[in-house]
C-alpha cells in the first residue's frame, strides 16, 4: 500500500519555519519559479543577498552572450519580495503593484546577485529599491524600484 502524498505545507508556514531555522534557502526552494531561475540566498553579514546561479536557460542574446532582461527583472523583484518577507513582523505575501527596471549594462554569463532595500514601509504599501550586480558590486548590471501592496486582502 502506498502512503498518501504529504499534505502541502502552505507558503506562509514554510516561511515561518525557515525563519525559525534561519534557513532562507528552504523557503526559496518552495517556489517553483525561483528554482527555475536557479535562485539561492542567505544572509551575508547583515544583508539578505539573493543569487541567480548562471545557467544557459537564462540567456537572451547568445551572440554576446548576455542574460535575458526578463531574468534580471525577475531576480530584482524576487530580491525585494524576499527582503520584505524576511524583515516583516506580520506575514502577508506582498503583491507587486509596479516595478521599474533600469538596465545599466549587459549581464554576462555568470552568477548575478541582488538585494532589496526598503525605502518606506507604510501601512498599506512599501517602497523598495533594488540592485543587481555580478563580479563588481560597484558597477551594478541593473537597478530597480518597486511598490508593493502589503495589507491583508
Amino acid at each position: 500500500m502506498t502512503a498518501p502524498p504529504p499534505l502541502p505545507v502552505p507558503l506562509i508556514d514554510r516561511l515561518a519555519e525557515a525563519k525559525r531555522a534561519g534557513d532562507y534557502q528552504a523557503f526559496m526552494d518552495a517556489i517553483p519559479y525561483a528554482r527555475f531561475l536557479g535562485l539561492s540566498g542567505g544572509k551575508i553579514g547583515d544583508e539578505l543577498i539573493t543569487t541567480m546561479r548562471y545557467g544557459d536557460q537564462l540567456i537572451g542574446n547568445p551572440a554576446l552572450p548576455a542574460l535575458h532582461g526578463g531574468t534580471l527583472g525577475a531576480l530584482l523583484e524576487s530580491a525585494a519580495i524576499f527582503e520584505l518577507l524576511w524583515r516583516a513582523e506580520t506575514i502577508v505575501l506582498p503583491k507587486t503593484i509596479t516595478v521599474t527596471i533600469d538596465y545599466l549594462r549587459s549581464g554576462a554569463a555568470v552568477d548575478t546577485h541582488a538585494r532589496g532595500i526598503v525605502t518606506r514601509h507604510g501601512r498599506r504599501v512599501t517602497n523598495v529599491r533594488m540592485e543587481a550586480w555580478q563580479a563588481d558590486r560597484a558597477t551594478p548590471v541593473a537597478t530597480a524600484h518597486a511598490i508593493f501592496l502589503v495589507m491583508r486582502s
Binding site: P10, I59, G60, N61, G69, G73, I97, T98, V99
Partner: protein, 152 residues
C-alpha cells in the same frame, strides 16, 4: 510595392526566427504568435515551473516581466529598417490584477515611437481580452548599440 513588401516580410520572418531562438524565451515556453510592422504578439502557456505562489498556483510576476521584455524588444526589431542590435534601457510594469491559474498569458507590444537612438514601447499582458489586462508596461530601448558595450 511588391519588392518592399517582400523585403518587409523577410525582415519580419528574421525577427520571428530570432525571437523564437532566444534561449530564455524557449526555456519559458514562449510562442511567437505574430510579428508585424512595429508590433509583436507572444504567448506564454501556463506551466508549473512558472508558479510564484505554490498555495494558489498563480505564476510569478517575473515570468510576466520576461514575456513583456521579450515581446517589447521584438516590437522594436519589427519597427527597424535594418536589424541592428538593441538594448533595453528601462522597463516599467504595472501589475493590474493577478494572472488566472491554468491560463496562458498573451503579450501584445507596440513600438509607438522610433528615433535615431531610442525606441519607445508599450505593451499589455492579458488572458482573453486586451482590454482587461493583467499587466501593462512601457519601455525604452537603445537602438544600434554596435559601437557601445551594452549590447543585449
Amino acid at each position: 510595392m511588391p519588392a518592399d513588401d517582400e523585403r518587409d516580410q523577410l525582415r519580419l520572418e528574421l525577427v520571428r526566427g530570432f525571437s523564437a531562438n532566444v534561449p530564455h524565451n524557449r526555456a519559458l515556453g514562449m510562442i511567437i504568435e505574430d510579428i508585424r510592422s512595429q508590433e509583436a504578439v507572444f504567448r506564454l502557456p501556463y506551466d508549473a515551473k512558472l508558479v510564484g505562489n505554490p498555495d494558489t498556483g498563480v505564476i510569478h510576476g517575473g515570468a510576466i516581466t520576461a514575456l513583456l521584455d521579450g515581446c517589447s524588444g521584438a516590437a522594436v526589431f519589427a519597427a527597424l529598417d535594418d536589424l541592428v542590435p538593441i538594448a533595453t534601457l528601462d522597463l516599467r510594469i504595472d501589475y493590474l490584477r493577478p494572472a488566472e491559474v491554468g491560463k496562458e498569458v498573451v503579450a501584445r507590444a507596440t513600438c509607438y515611437k522610433m528615433t535615431r537612438n531610442v525606441a519607445f514601447t508599450r505593451a499589455v499582458a492579458y488572458h482573453d481580452d486586451p482590454d482587461d489586462p493583467i499587466a501593462h508596461s512601457v519601455g525604452t530601448f537603445m537602438v544600434s548599440t554596435k559601437t557601445g558595450s551594452s549590447l543585449k
